[in-house]
Symmetry: C2
Subunit: 368 residues, 2 copies
Amino acid sequence: MKTVITRSRRLRGTPFTSRLEKQGVKSYTIYNHMLLPTTFSTPEEEYVHLKEHVQVWDVSVQREIEITGEDSDKLMQLMTCRNLSKLKVGMCYYVPLVDSEGGMINDPLVYKLENNRWRVCIADSDVLLFAKGIASVKQFKVNIFEANVNTLAIQGAKSDKFMSKIFGKKINDLKFFRYDFFNFNNNKFLISRSGFSKQGGFEIHIDNINAGLDLYDYFFKIGKDFNLKPGTPNHPERIEGGLLSYGSDMDINDNPFECGFDRYIDLESDIVFLGKEKLKEIKKKGIRRKLMGVKIETNLINLSAEIPIFNLDEKEIGKLRSAAFSPKFKKVVGIAMIQKDLCKDLQKFKLKLNGNYVFGEVCNLPIV
Amino acid sequence: MKTVITRSRRLRGTPFTSRLEKQGVKSYTIYNHMLLPTTFSTPEEEYVHLKEHVQVWDVSVQREIEITGEDSDKLMQLMTCRNLSKLKVGMCYYVPLVDSEGGMINDPLVYKLENNRWRVCIADSDVLLFAKGIASVKQFKVNIFEANVNTLAIQGAKSDKFMSKIFGKKINDLKFFRYDFFNFNNNKFLISRSGFSKQGGFEIHIDNINAGLDLYDYFFKIGKDFNLKPGTPNHPERIEGGLLSYGSDMDINDNPFECGFDRYIDLESDIVFLGKEKLKEIKKKGIRRKLMGVKIETNLINLSAEIPIFNLDEKEIGKLRSAAFSPKFKKVVGIAMIQKDLCKDLQKFKLKLNGNYVFGEVCNLPIV
């Protein structure tokens, strides 16, 4: 059944929505109370196109929470287990946000714009409310607000060629998870080498909507030579790449060790963050389950809740949380929370789809 | 254009979703990361039916945040400007939650289950993260979690007759915003006289999913005599009734005075809450705008962002935030944030719809 959505101010579009509709967007998801396109053709076609060519994605739903003011470095560190002390202006980090129980609050990319000025590009949960709750009680001198910024991602094999055509060769020197400012038509854009795919690309953080719309239209004016198409975060591609989706793959009931974020957890230095004591406890005890890749012997899957996974003796050993057909493997790939001692490449399992068992195996992330 | 939504674990259904689909649900909205049905026929037909008969609504999206533990009374009060000291077990209150800037965080119904045990039935924002942020820093002894509770609302003119048929005459004695426990099939249900309509009714808070599914099926087994139909929160009915929708009518950029919540703001007693000093300031200065009803001389409107409202001299005087065709007034009714000195019944205005001006007038809430 096709699920039709009723529009309202509460689920708002982005400055680009009317353009996407002219370009034939077929469906959306809701993300941070806004519309995120999910396909213009089929995820499979777009998967193939992304790996060969280049796409423009409207990812304005990655809302940017700005935190400024003299206590904002302190506040930012308090929310994450990753050590931010070496993050310099001009860089961004992928950081797990955790509460005092060690539960995952969100997994944003954080940009350090200046000392004591941050942009937190959030996944799908109201991080602003978490930050406000903490700051209110601490009486921190900070200003926390959703910035009026909308983001376009340029992703795919030809991203570098395409972007240098517009912004000049200098943009090719930008390193991964670094950002800088680049000009188009006398407008300055903050651009980072980042994005929710493993095919390479950039994210353009637009604070001047009209300049952003002009840029969008220019992309498609010159895009033919690059076989540019409008696209969206691609489900099978991001699953294979091991890029996690907050709310689908993990949520507040999971801790960062279970999500495989060990390298982003600093329990040794003297940084102060909310979940530190709890994460020490968890580390000492050891975790009992972990996110892993899976391959499933079927061509079609439609997930709207997690599905239990069984070993061949019918014992539940985990839950499937995301899944999509992979054009590469010609079967379904997915991300599942699996009992720790069975987190082994090639571990066999089965699960029920539409009443019938199908078989699969566990694999490492990224899925190669 | 019909907006089709892609399903995923992140936008999950409720225990009732598969039943709604068999019953012919036509569209959904997303609310608290879950599916909320929006119509089974048309909002206009359902408006008329609701006022004459009785409907069952799946409002499981009103997620229930449970706060327990010895500091939970303190935490609960800290989040709201409404004085909770007189709220007894067996009662619920409609409460504006505010941050330290006096901005609206949410407008839940809070149920006092026991001393130091609360259920916060939330509108569409992650209140759990706000509560966790505060509690983490205060080192409060509390446990905060999303309860595994799903809610069915029985709403409409025949609610009392229908409910007493199932739960006995005792349920008719339940007063407005009170709750009690009632039995069906040896299962106990927490039922409150409440709901997002002005036609009267009840909300059944279900913690045993199988018992809830049996109850749902029983409703439709005996419902014929009452002309029972599946329904949804009805947009024109709730607008006329002045029942506000968080995210559409107000958000964190609005304060509770602007939302008309004066009677829920206690700045006089010694209760401690985050926004108290800021709300005192706002009260002293006075507000410059306020939510009002509007009637607009058109039959059709589709809102996906706020729309500016002008006086007859083309000066912007406010923003339209919600709107729907009213079968009663045979025109569109809505809720708008209006410049304070123009918040007068019959104040004329105009706004642009599809490039043309249409005219309207301000009115009080509820719209009668």
